[in-house]
C-alpha cells in the first residue's frame, strides 16, 4: 500500500533519533578541541630526522647519502653534503648533511623516503596540528631533528625493532673489532 516504504524510513530515522540519546553507536561525533581521538600508532604526517644522544646536530644519524632526495616522488628534499667526516654509531667515518631542507608545502607525506633510507635516519612524525602564523614552511635541519626517545614514544613497536637491529649491528661490529686486532698483531 502506498506510503509503507516512507513509514519504514521514518521509523528508521526515529529509531536513530531516540538511539542517539543512549546508544553510543548512534552518536559518533567527537567534539574535536575538547575530546581527541587517540592517534593511531602507524599514522604519518611529515618526516623528521632522528638523532641519538643529547646534541641534536652531533647525534644526527643521517649520512647525507641523498638516496631519499633521489627517490622522493615530490622532489621536496634538498641536501648539501658537509666536507668533514665524522664517525657514526659503528665507528665508520661518514659524511653529515650541512643543509637538510624539506619543503613541507610540497611533501605529500607518502613515506617513500622512510622506506628507502638505509640508515634509519628519517622517520614519519604523527603530529597533525601544523597550523602556524608564519609562512616558514621550509623545515631546516634544526626543526627536523628529533630525539630517538621521541621516536620510541610515537612509534613504539617500529622504534623497538630499529633499535634492536642497530644494537645487534653495533655488537657484531664491536665483536669483529675485538677479533680484528688479533689478526694484526702476529
Amino acid at each position: 500500500m502506498l506510503g509503507r516504504g516512507i513509514l519504514r524510513g521514518l521509523i528508521e530515522t526515529g529509531r536513530n533519533f531516540c538511539g542517539s540519546y543512549y546508544d553510543p553507536a548512534r552518536l559518533t561525533t567527537v567534539q574535536y578541541p575538547e575530546e581527541k581521538l587517540p592517534p593511531q600508532e602507524n599514522a604519518r604526517t611529515l618526516p623528521f630526522l632522528v638523532y641519538d644522544g643529547q646534541d641534536p646536530l652531533a647525534g644526527l644519524r643521517c649520512t647525507a647519502c641523498t638516496i631519499c632526495e633521489q627517490e622522493c616522488p615530490a622532489h621536496c628534499i634538498r641536501i648539501v653534503k658537509d666536507t668533514v667526516k665524522k664517525p657514526d654509531y659503528l665507528g665508520k667515518m661518514q659524511f653529515h648533511p650541512k643543509v637538510f631542507d624539506i619543503d613541507a608545502m610540497v611533501c605529500m607525506s607518502c613515506g617513500v623516503c622512510v622506506e628507502v633510507c638505509p640508515f634509519d635516519s628519517i622517520k614519519m612524525d604523527r603530529v597533525f596540528e601544523l597550523a602556524q602564523d608564519r609562512r616558514a614552511l621550509v623545515l631546516h635541519k634544526m626543526n627536523l631533528a628529533k630525539s630517538n626517545q621521541y621516536y620510541r614514544e610515537i612509534h613504539p613497536t617500529e622504534a623497538a625493532a630499529v633499535d634492536a637491529a642497530r644494537d645487534e649491528e653495533q655488537r657484531k661490529a664491536r665483536a669483529k673489532k675485538a677479533a680484528a686486532p688479533a689478526i694484526l698483531t702476529p
Partner: protein, 384 residues
Amino acid sequence: MIAPPAELPAPGRVGWADHDLLEVAMGPHHPSTHGVFRMNVVLDGESVAKLTPIFGFLHRNHEKIAERNSYLAAIPYTDRLDYICSMTNNWAYVLTVEKLAGLPVPDRAEYIRVIVGEFTRLFNHACMAGFLLQDMGALGTPLMYAFREREKILDLFEALSGSRMMCNYLRFGGVRCDLPGGWREQAAGVAAAFHPFLDQFEALLSENEILRARTQGVGVLPPALAVNAGVTGPGLRASGVNYDIRKVDQYGIYNRFKFRVPLGARGGDVFDRYMVRILEMRESLAILEQALRDIPEGVFLDPKAKLRNLRPKAGEAYGRIEAPKGELGFYLISDGGPAPYRYRIRPPSLVNLTVLEDMCLGHAIADVVIILGSIDIVLGEVDR
C-alpha cells in the same frame, strides 16, 4: 553567443513544444556535480535537448609525472587518482608492474590485497548511495549513515597503512608492512557490523516510494549502448550485461572465493544502478568474511622484490582490476630504464561519463542531477 548545436538529436520521450531553447550551464562548482565538472544543458521547455559535459578542471598531468619519476615514486600518485578508493588504484598499478617485470606475490599479500580492496568497494558504494540521495534532496541523512560506516573502515586503513585516504600501501611483489596486532579481529568486527548498517540503509531507502518514483524508468542505459560505449562496473551490470573482471580475469586469488554477481532487473535505470551496488556490498561482505577467515601466515613481501631502481626488461603490459567504479586499467611500456617510457591509465569514471548525454535526453533537470549521481564519477580519475 555560443555556437548553436550543429544538429539536435531525436526528441526525448517528453512531447516537444515549440518553446525557445534555453541554455543552462551547471557547474563547474555546482552543488550537485561531485567535484569540478560542468554540464552545458540546452533545455527545451522542461526537457533536456542537448547536454555537453565539460571537464578537465582537475587535470594534474599525472601521466607525465609518472613517466618522469621512478616506478616506485608513481605509487603515491596513484592514491590521488580516484581519491575515494586509493587502495584499489595502487593495486591496479602494482598488478601491471608485476605483470611487466614478472614479480611473484606471496599468498598472504594476495589475501591482504583482497581484504583491503573489498573494504574499499564497501565504502565507495555506500558513499555513492549517500551522495545520490543527497542529490535527490534527502538532506544528507543517508550520507551521514554511509560516512559513519566509512569512518570505521578508514580507521582500519590508518592503523594498517598510516594514512586514512592516501594509503600508499601496496608495493611490487606484496604490501609495505604486515597487519598490526589485533587488526584482523578488528576488521572482522567491522565487517560483521556492516550487515545491520546495510539492513538499516535498505529500510530507509529501498522501499521508499518517493525514491522509487524519482528513479525508476529514469536514465535508462540499454545494454547494447552500454557495451558499445565501453561502460564497465556496476553501471554495466545494472544494464543486465554479466561482466565482472573479478570473474573474467580471476586476477589475484579471486578464484578461491565464492561470491555472486548481481545483475539489473529492468534494463538499467537509476534504481537498478543503486540496487546493484547495494547487492554488491553484500557480496563484498561475503568475500571479506572468507578472506579474513583463511588468511595464511607467512611473508608479506616477496624477499627478492627490489624496491629501488626497478628496471623491468623492455616490453609492454596492460593490467586491469574491477575497481568499485568499473574497469581500472594501466598500460605501461618499459624501455629498460628506471622510469616507464609510456604510462597510460584507463579511467572507468571517464568512460562511464561518455553515455551521460544519451541517458539524459528528454528528462527534466532534476533527473540530470540524479543520473549523474548514479554513474558515480570522481573528477580526480576523470581528469587525471
